[in-house]
């Protein structure tokens, strides 16, 4: 079970600042291949190991998409249940992790479309944040340790204010570290669309956070 992947360069000026702009294509074995085979063969515990291996990134994405721990965990569970139901049909045409992200992204977007009540709840939370309340994360969430910092809280709120269509690609790229091509595959949209949505999302975040950054922001594009 192998696939082709495009390596990402680092961010100029933020990380190394002088990374190579050349992309390298490499063909590598899916790190989940053995577990997937074991799972398909009906081996006990193989699926649970896959859950453990992917729960952090699924939860990370869903936390940013859903806004609350409660909803993120609920959708994460749905994601893995759906994987268990349909995942045996996974044929290794992409990385398994890409497949997992796709299922999670669909679950998140479906949940947001169908559960108006949840949306209303998120909106109410946004009002509470504006009034100074913090997100009702579980106390053991490490984000709480830093949630007192204005910066972190503002960034989370700014992310929540983006539309799901813009938030999803920027979370997948800038937080989860996926490549453009992989995000295109996850969201079933063109790579160009991924890039432009990420750019629009970043611009919106920059404007949202400009006061906080204390920058003399120029909102209008030249």
């Amino acid at each position: 079970m192998s696939f082709e992947m495009v390596e990402r360069g680092s961010m100029a000026g933020v990380e190394s600042g002088n990374s190579s702009s050349r992309r390298r294509r490499v063909v590598i074995e899916d790190p989940d291949a053995d577990l997937i085979r074991a799972w398909k063969d009906g081996e006990d515990g193989a699926f649970e190991q896959l859950v453990r291996r992917h729960e952090r990134r699924v939860f990370g994405l869903l936390m940013r998409m859903m806004g609350t721990r409660e909803e993120a965990e609920d959708v994460a569970q749905e994601t893995f249940l759906s994987l268990h139901r349909h995942g045996r049909r996974f044929r290794g045409e992409s990385k398994f992790s890409t497949f997992v992200y796709r299922v999670a992204a669909n679950a998140a977007l479906n949940r947001r479309r169908t559960l108006g009540r949840s949306r209303a709840r998120v909106d109410r939370l946004a009002v509470r944040h504006a009034a100074g309340d913090d997100l009702p994360y579980s106390p053991r969430d490490p984000e709480d340790a830093t949630s007192g910092t204005e910066l972190t809280a503002h960034v989370r709120q700014a992310l929540q204010r983006l539309s799901p269509a813009l938030r999803m690609p920027v979370v997948l790229y800038d937080i989860q570290g996926l490549a453009y091509a992989e995000i295109a595959e996850v969201l079933s949209i063109a790579e160009g669309t991924v890039k432009s949505r990420i750019h629009r999302a970043r611009q919106a975040l920059r404007v949202e956070l400009s006061d906080l950054l204390g920058l003399n922001d120029k909102e209008s594009s030249p």
């Binding site: 100029a12 933020v14 702009s21 994460a76 569970q77 969430d141 490490p142 830093t146 970043r202 956070l209």
Partner: protein, 319 residues
């Protein structure tokens, strides 16, 4: 590079993906444009903030909780699989002959009696079959469904890979009286081998009578209603199981290739029937060896299928 070029290439610049030449032009523009420089700097700070958000921790016991729900879901879906399995088996004469379906009627409104609930099987052609669902678990084509099938919420459910839809109709449901439309009596041991999809009919004395609108007044007394495969090629004279086994031994590769053009359900039926016949005649090891030694890969795979079918018959044969 002008302002618009800066906007177009900002993402690639930030990622370090801009070719050297363009990067030089980009930098040259930034040197002389404080607006663009400010935007780039604020964007870099935004990304730094975004990328330094702490990773949320997954709750302790999350994977255990997922596995609990997986096991719950497995027991819930198993009845659906039973139903699909029941319909596959319905094509099997071994099951169909002693079929004890209480009432399965097809697409025709009539009526004698009411039940509390019914499974309604909708076939794409517009036919409709109803299966009564007793409260202590349904019986479909002689296959017991688990009692928790009662928990299925009312509403339409599609069955992946199946050619019909199922919905649970809450009662009271009028159960149609078998209509007197009969044609084509077909010996049971023949029709099911050459059929796809499902239609309705009745069975009496091991003969299946297909129901259509074209022929009236002929329903034999005491016939039982059954849902059956739709494309019945009753008039074709088909070789017997013994003849098929002889063909298989003579040329396993040809047999395997011909079989591969059938639907999966048909293939299962063929394999199950022929494995049973071969086993009864004590020819199963010989058949499996012939398939295994064939240069045809499909035949080699078929050998495993015959072994699996034989094991299944061993374990179900003493029920």
């Amino acid at each position: 590079m002008n302002h618009s070029g800066i906007q177009d290439h900002m993402a690639d610049y930030l990622e370090g993906h801009l070719p050297l030449e363009k990067r030089a032009l980009f930098d040259a523009h930034l040197d002389g444009c404080s607006d663009c420089l400010a935007e780039i700097r604020s964007m870099q700070q935004t990304l730094t903030l975004l990328r330094s958000l702490p990773e949320p921790e997954v709750s302790l016991g999350f994977s255990e909780s997922v596995m609990r729900r997986v096991h719950e879901a497995e027991s819930r879906v198993s009845w659906m699989e039973s139903l699909q399995g029941a319909f596959s088996l319905l094509m099997n004469p071994r099951v169909l002959a002693p079929v004890s379906v209480a009432l399965i009627a097809l697409g025709i409104i009539g009526g004698a009696g009411e039940v509390e609930k019914a499974l309604v099987l909708e076939v794409p052609g517009g036919s409709l079959a109803t299966q009564t669902l007793p409260t202590d678990g349904a019986v479909l084509a002689g296959i017991s469904l688990p009692a928790h099938s009662q928990k299925l919420a009312a509403g339409r459910t599609s069955v992946p890979g199946a050619s019909f839809q199922i919905r649970l109709q809450s009662g009271p449901v009028r159960v149609p009286e078998p209509p007197p439309h009969l044609i084509n009596p077909i010996p049971l041991n023949e029709f099911s081998q050459y059929a796809r999809g499902f239609r309705g009919g009745v069975v009496k004395d091991d003969v299946f009578y297909e129901l259509t609108e074209g022929n009236l007044e002929a329903r034999p007394q005491g016939a039982r209603m059954v849902a059956v495969p739709s494309r019945v090629r009753a008039q074709e004279k088909q070789p017997s199981a013994e003849e098929w086994l002889a063909r298989l031994k003579r040329n396993p590769g040809d047999f395997a290739s011909a079989l591969s053009s059938s639907t999966l359900a048909e293939q299962e039926l063929w394999i199950a029937n022929l494995a049973r016949h071969a086993r009864q005649r004590g020819e199963l090891p010989e058949i499996i060896t012939a398939l295994r030694q064939s240069p045809n890969q499909r035949a080699n795979l078929l050998a495993e299928d015959f072994e699996a079918a034989s094991r299944g018959q061993d374990s179900s044969g003493h029920r």
